[in-house]
């Protein structure tokens, strides 16, 4: 049971490119099976990359020709549908939505430019200073500082680890109940 949980945390560390939790690291010191699993997980990316290149070389391209020969017929039926006005091309997102979005963005940019040009510079500086003041009053400890503090980071990581392990254990419990 414990090994299962540690192996899950090892897998999770590989997928999220994060560090293996400290208590799993301690377990690795005394568990051969988990240590071997960690080594395997670490080597899989490279091994599969190598073996993917090797296996793709053996593919028989004959099937491609069969598909390619069927394309003109489908293309013809697609263009017939378009000519009849029922094809997806006529009212597709690209032909309908994109020009409208471009026009809307253009109007927005022009409006903002007019506003920007008509406002006096001093008021702009003042309003920015006011906003910065307001922000300082609202958030006495800067959000970035808070996010970067080691304690906060450790707390977040621990919370994620516990959540993930709980999800894994719940899934297992689910199976046993379902059987």
């Amino acid at each position: 049971m414990l090994c299962s949980m540690h192996k899950w945390l090892i897998s999770r560390a590989v997928d999220s490119k994060k560090q293996i939790p400290a208590f799993t690291k301690r377990h690795l010191g005394r568990c051969d099976s988990c240590r071997k699993f960690t080594q395997l997980c670490g080597s899989l990316k490279q091994r599969f990359a190598h073996d993917t290149t090797a296996i793709l070389k053996g593919y028989n391209k004959a099937i491609d020709q069969k598909i390619i020969s069927a394309l003109p017929e489908i293309k013809e039926s697609r263009s017939t549908l378009s000519r009849q006005g029922v094809g997806p091309n006529l009212f597709s997102k690209r032909t309908f939505l994109v020009p409208s979005l471009v026009a809307a963005s253009l109007v927005l940019v022009i409006s903002i430019s007019i506003l920007f040009l008509t406002l006096p510079r001093s008021s702009e500086v003042n309003s920015l200073a006011n906003m910065s003041d307001l922000f300082k009053r609202a958030y006495p400890v800067r959000i970035l500082e808070k996010a970067e503090s080691p304690l906060e980071k450790e707390y977040t990581e621990l919370k994620e680890t516990i959540e993930s392990t709980a999800k894994f254990l719940i899934s297992r419990l689910d199976v046993r109940l379902g059987r």
């Binding site: 897998s11 793709l56 099937i63």
Partner: protein
């Protein structure tokens, strides 16, 4: 610069947009990029080579027919693999209904096939084919396609946590197959079955 070189320089999404604009040669380039990858994605031990070839053909033709619906801002490989996965599910269900038609692919006695099988036997993907279909496909998308979990979840119609569990399960079972003696010890007390977890939410794919 010739036409083929230009096509090879284009991204999948640009080629898809060109196809939507009427270029068949752009789609041919996409076929040459993706058919080998789709072939091995779909080539599980429970599917015959003929089934896999039919699936690839159906996938590309469906993609070509619906290329207008593809949004070039999205990832083309996720879109194409989603179509392939849906086609595979339909075929699997149809085959399940007919039962005896699920032909294991290793039955061929063709000498050339035997040579290929010998060359391939050292390949990790051959070992991975012995895993469950869902585990194999998750491994393929994660390691061969280098896809993020989020995209794999989209293709396989699963939650992200389910994909993570499938990946984990695949690694555990692969480890067991790679080194039976070491791994069988650590699992003997837990569960002797090949796939010890089976989540109700992990459906067929």
């Amino acid at each position: 610069m010739d036409k083929d070189t230009i096509l090879k320089d284009l991204s999948d999404e640009e080629l898809a947009a060109d196809t939507a604009a009427g270029s068949c040669s752009s789609f041919e380039e996409l076929i040459s990029r993706y058919s080998p990858r789709l072939f091995y994605f779909l080539r599980h031990r429970t599917a015959s080579d003929q089934n896999v070839e039919d699936l690839i053909q159906e996938t590309f033709l469906k993609a070509f027919r619906n290329i207008d619906r593809f949004d070039p801002k999205r990832n083309f490989s996720t879109w194409l693999y989603t179509i392939a996965a849906r086609q595979a599910v339909s075929l699997y269900r149809a085959n399940k209904a007919k039962k005896p038609s699920l032909v294991p692919m290793a039955s061929s006695q063709d000498p050339q096939e035997i040579v290929i099988q010998k060359q391939e036997s050292q390949n990790l993907w051959i070992l991975a084919k012995k895993l469950s279909r869902k585990e194999y496909k998750t491994l393929w998308l994660y390691y061969a396609e280098d896809m993020p979990i989020k995209n794999i979840a989209e293709i396989m119609k699963k939650k992200k946590v389910t994909v993570r569990v499938l990946l984990h399960r695949a690694r555990i079972n692969l480890a067991k197959k790679l080194d039976k003696s070491v791994y069988s010890e650590s699992f003997a007390g837990e569960n002797s079955a090949e796939h010890k977890f089976s989540f109700s939410e992990i459906g067929e794919i």
